[in-house]
């Protein structure tokens, strides 16, 4: 298990040549939700791999069940990085993904989520799904950390299988929380702006 995890991190580093920068935020093992823009299948893997090891071991990317359960290799990779797989096709009232995430987080894990809900090839981020808001509402103690992934869409764009090993860059910004009296719409807008602001800093 340890070997494949090391191997995954090395592969992610070689393929995406990422560098990581923490802006107004320090690596910490406290419970966090890292939310990022989503342009490539590699996003979850690369962001997970770029975290310092002791944090990485306590961080679970939330990923789509239909993609990551296909085939032996993907299943194995998903298991190695301890992905929390969500069934996108079967969202039920009594088994909402938010409850599942909160249950799976226990009192130690952090999550990586992509609030756009799907990979978005366009430059502009699309509107966020409401999951982030409900997470913030049900667990107000969590730090919501915005992450901007740069150039990942060129490394492995939507619809391609082979990655081009360019250089990518990860910027991690200051955490946000749900403010008192903030509506869902306002909060999601603010979260989205938090990522956009990381582009230029």
């Amino acid at each position: 298990m340890q070997l494949t995890s090391t191997l995954l991190v090395a592969t992610a580093k070689i393929i995406s040549g990422y560098t990581i920068r923490w802006v107004d935020c320090l690596p910490d093992t406290c419970q966090r939700i890292y939310f990022a823009n989503h342009t490539s299948h590699l996003d979850a893997l690369v962001l997970w791999a770029s975290l310092p090891r002791e944090i990485r071991e306590l961080t679970r990317p939330v990923a789509a069940k239909d993609y990551w359960e296909k085939g032996w290799l993907r299943r194995h990779i998903a298991k190695t990085f301890n992905a929390l797989l969500i069934d996108r096709n079967e969202v039920k009232v009594h088994q909402s993904p938010i409850d599942l995430m909160i249950r799976e987080m226990k009192d130690c894990y952090s999550l990586i989520i992509f609030p756009e809900g799907r990979r978005n090839p366009a430059e502009e981020m699309i509107k966020f799904k409401s999951g982030l808001f409900y997470l913030a509402k049900k667990r107000p103690d969590l730090e919501l950390v915005p992450v901007y992934l740069d150039n990942m869409s060129r490394v492995l764009p939507r619809g391609e299988i082979l990655p081009v090993p360019l250089l990518s860059h990860i910027t991690i910004g200051a955490p946000i929380w749900l403010e008192k009296g903030e509506t869902k719409h306002q909060f999601l807008d603010r979260a989205r702006t938090a990522i956009i602001n990381l582009k230029d800093c």
């Binding site: 090839p121 764009p157 391609e160 081009v164 090993p165 360019l166 990518s168």
Partner: protein, 369 residues
């Protein structure tokens, strides 16, 4: 000059015989000199770092220290190459070329439909070029300028996207040409078989036997390959490659220093404000001096080494200008700052890329046997 050193050398030569170093004595001296210079430069950098607040420009000190760090890395690569042999050096240069091209394409906007062409360029053509250098055919001379150059536009056309077609093809071609093709001439120097007008080197010649006397005529003409005292083959071109990289890098600094000291006439203010005619000419003159000074590691006579150094100097300048123009067009200052935290390999090797093919060909035309 070597004879002068030789008086003090006995102890060192003995050590060399025991260790069986894979390079000849002049190369060993060159490495020792470079190491000493680097240690001095690092010490100076540390010292400047302490006093920079009051008297010196912090940015200049920082870039000086950055440069020294990358020189340590570069010498480590070259020295590692001396030990692991010619093919190993080619692999190391291949990695540098790959990284440089990566930086180049990361900075250059491409379209989504270029993805598969980029895959070919980075994953197929780049390693292939250095493989072709290592197998020493003529194919490495034409693989990229002909075959890759024809392949790239054709592959882009197949991607079914006509927007800015010529521009996109040219961007990818120029990146591959500069970062990979031109750079690959540096390790190709190792495979040249060179002669020399100089007398064969006395210290390195095998003891005279009947057999070696018979081979003498053939031996005398080849400068590149000599036998050490144990009869192992030594490739002296490693020293020549070291010489080339050393002069290129020193010339970069000399041009910059002369420009800062005397620079008045900026060559192209809209491209680069720190490159002046004074810097170029001063750099070329001092490089010529250094080239002559280090000529003992090359097959060149001292005046030939000086001319080579001048050529390297001008080509290095051309490389720096070209890369500045590309960076200015993209609105970035350094490839290093483009993606935070990266070393910016392209910033360091632009002059190397431009000088390598010319140095290779001049050496081949005038000295190969």
């Amino acid at each position: 000059m070597l004879n002068l050193f030789h008086q003090f050398l006995w102890a060192f030569v003995d050590v060399k015989r025991v260790l069986n170093l894979p390079f000849d004595e002049p190369t060993a001296w060159l490495i020792a000199t470079v190491m000493l210079l680097l240690i001095l430069a690092s010490a100076a950098g540390k010292l400047l770092d302490g006093t920079s607040e009051q008297r010196l420009n912090t940015a200049i000190v920082r870039s000086f220290n950055q440069r020294i760090r990358s020189w340590w890395l570069m010498s480590a690569v070259l020295i590692a190459g001396l030990f692991i042999g010619e093919h190993g050096t080619v692999v190391l240069f291949g990695l540098i070329g790959f990284w440089a091209l990566r930086e180049f394409i990361t900075m250059t906007p491409t379209r989504r439909s270029d993805h598969r062409t980029l895959f070919w360029v980075l994953v197929v053509f780049t390693p292939l070029q250095f493989f072709l250098v290592a197998i020493q055919g003529e194919l490495f001379l034409i693989a990229i300028p002909i075959y890759a150059s024809l392949f790239i536009p054709a592959r882009i056309a197949m991607a079914n996207d006509a927007k800015r077609f010529l521009e996109r093809s040219a961007k990818i071609q120029i990146g591959l040409l500069i970062c990979v093709y031109a750079l690959s001439f540096a390790p190709a120097i190792l495979y040249l078989d060179l002669g020399s007008n100089k007398q064969p080197n006395v210290e390195i010649d095998a003891p005279v036997t009947i057999e070696s006397a018979a081979n003498e005529a053939a031996q005398r003409t080849s400068w590149s390959h000599v036998k050490d005292s144990d009869g192992n083959d030594i490739n002296r071109n490693k020293g020549l490659l070291f010489f080339f990289v050393l002069i290129t890098q020193l010339n970069d600094v000399l041009q910059y220093a002369w420009g800062k000291l005397l620079g008045k006439n900026i060559i192209a203010p809209r491209i680069n404000t720190s490159r002046t005619w004074e810097g170029v000419i001063g750099g070329a003159a001092t490089s010529a001096l250094l080239g002559a000074l280090f000529s003992w590691v090359t097959p060149f006579l001292f005046w030939q080494a000086a001319i080579m150094a001048i050529v390297i100097s001008f080509m290095g300048f051309a490389g720096g200008m070209t890369m500045s123009a590309i960076k200015r067009d993209r609105g970035v200052k350094d490839y290093g700052t483009l993606v935070q935290g990266h070393a910016g390999i392209l910033d360091r090797i632009d002059s190397l890329c431009f000088a390598a093919p010319v140095f290779y060909h001049l050496t081949k035309v005038f000295f190969a046997i």
